[in-house]
C-alpha cells in the first residue's frame, strides 16, 4: 500500500529497511570503498544502521519523528565515526530539526528533510557539488524533491523522481575526480569509478521511495 506521508511508525520501518539494505550491501560497499579508499564503508554503514534501527525500535513511535531522527543521528555518530558515518549522523540531526513538531512528512516535508540533510552535510564536509562525494547525489535529491513538491506531486511520485535523479547523479560521479577523503589520494584512478558515499546516498533515497510505495 502506497503511503501518502511518513509518520513516526513509518520512520521506524524505514530504518529497519535501511538496516536490511546495508546488511545486504555490506560486501559490495566494502569492495567499492576498497578500490580507492579503506574498505570500511560496508562495515560502518551496516553497523550504523543496525544500531540506529535498534535504537529507534527501543524508543518507539510515541516520541515523534524529530526525536527519532535525533536518536538516529546520535546513535550513528557514536557507532560509526567515519566520514560517512559522521556525515550521515549530521544529516539526520539536521533533518530532525525541520521535522520538529510534525506528526508526519508529506512531499513538502520530505523535501525539507532532504534539504536539511544535504545542507548539514555540505557544511560539515565543506565539499562542493562536483567534488565526487555524497553531495553529488544529495543535491539533486533535494532539488528534485522541492520541484516535485512545488508542482504538487504525491510523496511517492516525488520520491521516485528523486531516486531516479540520484541514480543518474551517481552515474555522473564516474566521470569526476575525487577531491576529498581517502579517495583523493588516488587522483586519476578515481575516474571511471562511482563514488562510494554517493552510492550510499542513492541507496537511501531509493529505499525510502520503495518503502513509501510499499515494495
Amino acid at each position: 500500500m502506497t503511503l501518502q506521508t511518513l509518520n513516526a511508525a513509518n520512520f521506524i520501518d524505514l530504518f529497519r529497511s535501511w538496516r536490511m539494505l546495508f546488511a545486504e550491501q555490506r560486501e559490495f560497499l566494502i569492495a567499492l570503498d576498497g578500490k580507492v579508499g579503506d574498505s570500511d564503508l560496508g562495515i560502518t554503514m551496516s553497523k550504523a544502521f543496525a544500531a540506529a534501527a535498534e535504537a529507534l525500535e527501543a524508543e518507539g513511535e510515541a516520541v515523534g519523528i524529530a526525536k527519532l531522527l535525533r536518536t538516529a543521528g546520535a546513535t550513528i555518530a557514536r557507532t560509526a565515526p567515519s566520514t560517512m558515518g559522521t556525515l550521515t549522523a549530521t544529516g539526520f540531526l539536521r533533518a530532525s530539526k525541520v521535522a520538529e513538531g510534525k506528526e508526519a512528512l508529506d512531499a513538502t516535508g520530505v523535501a525539507a528533510f532532504w534539504r536539511a540533510y544535504r545542507d548539514g552535510i555540505a557544511e560539515r564536509g565543506k565539499a562542493k557539488v562536483g567534488d565526487k562525494t555524497l553531495l553529488d547525489v544529495l543535491d539533486p535529491i533535494a532539488v528534485t524533491l522541492e520541484a516535485q513538491a512545488a508542482a504538487g506531486a504525491s510523496l511517492s511520485d516525488a520520491l521516485s523522481a528523486a531516486a531516479k535523479a540520484a541514480e543518474e547523479a551517481l552515474e555522473a560521479t564516474k566521470s569526476m575526480m575525487a577531491q576529498h577523503g581517502k579517495a583523493a589520494a588516488f587522483q586519476e584512478k578515481t575516474i571511471g569509478l562511482q563514488d562510494a558515499g554517493a552510492t550510499v546516498g542513492a541507496y537511501l533515497i531509493r529505499r525510502m521511495a520503495n518503502v513509501v510505495e510499499g515494495i
Binding site: D38, S39, D40, I43, T44, A77, R78, P81, S82, T83, T86, L87, T90, R124, G125, H180, G181, K182, A184, A185, F186, K189
Partner: protein, 333 residues
C-alpha cells in the same frame, strides 16, 4: 593474519586495558576507555587534545603526559574516534584556559573534531585547531591543505606541549603549534603492507623487491612504486623532495624524526639516518635534535619516514624542553 590478539573486535579496547594497567599516569574519562586523559591535570594550563585511529602507536595517545598532551580520543584501527569522545576529552582537560586540538588532516577526523568543537563551544570552552599536514608525498606544493598528517605531528605536539607547560595562552600555544606545522615536512617509504585486525588480510600488495615512495600510514597510494634501491638512494629521493620545497640555508638548524613504520628494525633506521645527516651536512644545516625509533606506525608495516622541522629560536627552545609521557621521555640537557 598473524597477530597476538584475542578477537579483532576487542583489539583496541584490550590494548587500552593494557595501557591503563601499565601506565598509571594516564586514565580515562566519561566511563569510556577510549577517552584517554592525563591523570595529572594542571589548573590554568591550556589543554591539548589529540585523537585519531588506533594502529599507529605511540601516535596518538602515547604522547599524553608532562610537557606534551593532556588527552586523546582513541578510534578503532585506522578509524576516527567519535565527536562525542573528543568532546568528553575536551571537557575533562579544559582548565579554564581553553583547549587546542592537534590532529592529522583526514576527513573523518576533521568532521568529528569540528563537531566536538561545536559541542565544546556550547559549554563555553574555547577551542582552537591545528591540523597536521606534513606529508609532502600526499599532494603537490601549493595544495598543502590537501596533504595528510603523518609522523611530523610529533613536532607539533612537542612544540605546543612545551608552550602550554610554560603557561602560555591558548592563542600563543596555537600560534606556536601552527608555526611548527608550517615548518615540518615528512617523506615516507613503505616496503610491506599492514593488516587491519578486523579486515584480516594485507591492505595492499607489493612485490618482494619493491618499495613505494610516499605511501601513507594507512596504505594510501604514494608517488612511485619501484624496485627497492640501496638505502642511500632511497634517502636521497626522499630528501630531494623535502629540499625542493624548503629553504634550508647554511647555518640553519633542524630537528629530525627518523621514524619506523612498525616492521622495520631499528638498525635500518640508523643506516637511513646516517644518510639523512650527510645530506643536511652538505647544505651546512645542523641537526640540533634527533629522535630515531617508532613514533607513528602503521601496525606491522615495514618502512620508514623522515620528518624535518626547520627550527628557529623559539621552536628550538620548545623542542628542547623536557617531556615525560608513557611512550616518550625527553630529558633536557
Amino acid at each position: 593474519m598473524k597477530k597476538f590478539l584475542n578477537d579483532p573486535v576487542s583489539f583496541v579496547d584490550e590494548m587500552l586495558e593494557g595501557i591503563y594497567k601499565a601506565h598509571p599516569a594516564v586514565t580515562y574519562t566519561a566511563g569510556d576507555l577510549r577517552c584517554l586523559v592525563t591523570a595529572k591535570i594542571n589548573p590554568g594550563k591550556v589543554g591539548i587534545a589529540t585523537g585519531g585511529g588506533s594502529g599507529h602507536l605511540p601516535t596518538f595517545l602515547g604522547f599524553v603526559g608532562d610537557g606534551m598532551l593532556d588527552g586523546a580520543a582513541v578510534g578503532g584501527v585506522f578509524q576516527s574516534p567519535s565527536a562525542e569522545q573528543m568532546y568528553q576529552v575536551t571537557k575533562h582537560i579544559d582548565q579554564g584556559a581553553g583547549v587546542l586540538y592537534i590532529y592529522g588532516n583526514y576527513t573523518g577526523d576533521i568532521i568529528n573534531f569540528d563537531m566536538a568543537a561545536e559541542l565544546a563551544d556550547l559549554d563555553g570552552i574555547a577551542v582552537r585547531q591545528v591540523v597536521g599536514n606534513d606529508d609532502v608525498a600526499s599532494s603537490v606544493a601549493g595544495e598543502e591543505h590537501k596533504r595528510r598528517g603523518v609522523a611530523g605531528i610529533f613536532f607539533i605536539y612537542k612544540t605546543a606541549g612545551a608552550a602550554a607547560a610554560e603557561g602560555l595562552s591558548l592563542d600563543e600555544v596555537t600560534r606556536l603549534a601552527d608555526k611548527a606545522r608550517l615548518r615540518t615536512r615528512t617523506m615516507g617509504v613503505a616496503l610491506s603492507s599492514c593488516v587491519v585486525p578486523e579486515i584480516g588480510h594485507a591492505t595492499f600488495s607489493i612485490g618482494t623487491d619493491e618499495m613505494e615512495i610516499g605511501m601513507g600510514i594507512h596504505g594510501e597510494p604514494g608517488i612511485s612504486r619501484k624496485k627497492l634501491a640501496p638505502a642511500d638512494a632511497v634517502v636521497d629521493e626522499m630528501m630531494d623532495r623535502i629540499f625542493a620545497e624548503t629553504d634550508y640555508k647554511q647555518g640553519d638548524t633542524v630537528a629530525v624524526l627518523m621514524n619506523g613504520l612498525g616492521g622495520t628494525p631499528l638498525e635500518e633506521l640508523y643506516i637511513l639516518f646516517r644518510r639523512v645527516s650527510l645530506r643536511l651536512e652538505e647544505l651546512g644545516v645542523t641537526v640540533k635534535h634527533v629522535w630515531i625509533g617508532e613514533f607513528a606506525t602503521s601496525m606491522e608495516m615495514a618502512g620508514a619516514s623522515i620528518s624535518i622541522l626547520h627550527l628557529d629560536e623559539e621552536l628550538d627552545r620548545l623542542v628542547a624542553a623536557p617531556a615525560n609521557t608513557p611512550f616518550f621521555k625527553h630529558i633536557a640537557e
